[in-house]
Amino acid sequence: MIRVRSYSIRQKLTSMNMLVSGAALLLACAAFAVYELTYFRTTLVQSLSIQAQIVGANSASALLFNDPDSARNTLSALKAAPNISSAGIYTPAGQPFAIYARDPDNQVSYLSIPIVSPEAWKFVGNELILVRVIEFQGKRVGIVQIHSDLSEIRAGLERYAGIVAVVLAVSLLAAFLFSSIFQKTTAQPIAQLAETARVVSREKKYSVRAPVPETRDEIGDLIEAFNEMLAQIQARDTALQTARDELELRVERRTAQVEAVNKELESFTYSVAHDLRAPLRHIQGFSDALIEECARQLDETAKGYLNRIVDSTRRMDQLISDLLGLAHVGRQELHLQPVSLHRLARDVIRDMEHEIQGRNIEWRIGDLPVLDCDPGLMKQVLYNLLSNAVKYTRPRDPAVVEVGQTATEGHRVIFVRDNGVGFNMKYVHKLFGVFERLHRREDFEGTGVGLATVQRIIHKHGGRIWAEAEVDRGATFYFTLGSHENS
């Protein structure tokens, strides 16, 4: 059965046809054979019985008058029946009275089967033996026994079996031929459908179609439905491809636009860096020349104005530098690596040596983590935050600047806290805006770009920055580094 399961539909259909027709034929033949055999036997027994009665009737007087010759004569008439091999008449006691044998060597001189009145028969080996009681006026006078040879019947039966075999073979052949013809309309379309399905799934080729058979049956419907399905898949595939191509084209176009804008921005910052600085340098240079070379022609007011011009150009230069820095942060790619914030904070404080000269500052550097971030940009963050802290604690003695870490909502938060002049939380929304300042310039210098730069760097890292403060009670800046954070 397991082997049958793996047969193709063609093989299954053929086997089914052959098995069904073969079984029907075999059953029919078997039924006929049984019927024939029974019929043969019955007629054989009947004819033998008749012959035994005739022999018995004709030999009754011979038995009564003890005339074996007459009985032998009667028996010899059996020569006419070619199937009778031997026969005998016996006395009621079972003694042979007269014996006939077609072949004298094959003479039977005894009763082969027990006697049952009036007759008994039995198939023994290759022959049928029949015994019959001979009666005369109700009295048993003797017994007749006839042996009939069955070899002819057997030969007949064998011929019959031969014919059955031939008929069976011819029928099976015919069944095979018919099933082959019918396969063209059933198995073949299914096989082609299966092959098409294989091609589709293997090569992802949705343009192929299964050949539709001419017959209008379930198989035809199935194949048409399959082809329809393929057509739908193909249409969807094409639509998908088109959409993807369009999307790609759009992305390409957009990328090109972004690149063009970036290039423009870059050349803009380049001109800012290069061209805007030159006039500043000239103003400074020539103001300097004026002070040095024409000092005698200038009074104090003129010199004061000149100094203001020089101060303004310095400030302009600082603004340009800060703006360039901010633009640079925007364009720069992040190079993430594990950075020890503790070491970075120490480095920054060391670099600020010049700024903190003459100040009494108490540094409190807490236990700072190692974070995955861009070391250069993170240094700028710490520098801007710490120099802000130093700047706004100028009126304090001692100034206290604390750098540490805390946690909110499961996120690591780094903070920079000072005991400086703080600010009014009313203006906190302006804190990180470019050029926004919360203090007067004569109190605290600055361009208003530092915190904007810090915010841009933190955002670039996927983090968040915020601040808390109170006027005259210091400020605290908090930041996280979002998804780039290292544990």
Binding site: A273, H274, G285, R314, L324
Partner: protein, 156 residues
């Protein structure tokens, strides 16, 4: 100009910058000859004795080239490339002196063989200091191989 006098080639298109630079050298009493080229092409003509400079004295090249990057005609980077490509001029120190502090410019200048890169300070004090230091270091402290020309220079 005597052939043994120390000379600086100043390649600068901005006349204000030229004047400010010359003023620093004058007021700081730095005794060098200054040759000014107003664009990259003029600088190359001067160095390779072409065009207006085809009759320039042979066997003499500036001890230092102060080179701006943003120049008309041939830009500063191209000038560095050509100076460093020729055996005759390769050993002349080239100091880029420009307003740009862009990493791109710094990296590219050094890649092409610039010997130094200085961003022009805006502050006049810092500017003076920078010019003074550069002139002193590259003409008085720094040593270059003595120029030896095996073949006569072919002039066109």
């Amino acid at each position: 100009m005597s052939s043994n006098q120390t000379e600086i080639l100043l390649v600068e298109d901005d006349p204000q910058d030229v004047e400010l630079t010359l003023r620093v050298l004058r007021t700081e009493n730095i005794k060098v000859a200054i040759q000014v080229a107003r664009d990259g092409e003029e600088a190359l003509d001067y160095l390779f004795r072409r065009g207006d400079y085809s009759n320039r004295a042979p066997n003499h090249q500036p001890s230092l080239i102060l080179l701006d990057l943003k120049l008309p005609k041939v830009n500063g980077l191209q000038v560095i490339e050509q100076i460093k490509a020729s055996d005759e001029t390769r050993t002349i120190p080239v100091v880029v002196l420009t307003s740009s502090g862009e990493q791109k410019d710094i990296v590219e200048s050094y890649r092409l063989g610039a010997n130094s890169y200085v961003q022009k300070p805006v502050g006049s004090i810092e500017f003076r200091q920078a010019i003074k230091t550069l002139a002193f270091y590259w003409t008085a402290v720094n040593q270059v191989p003595v120029l030896q020309i095996k073949d006569p220079v072919i002039t066109r």
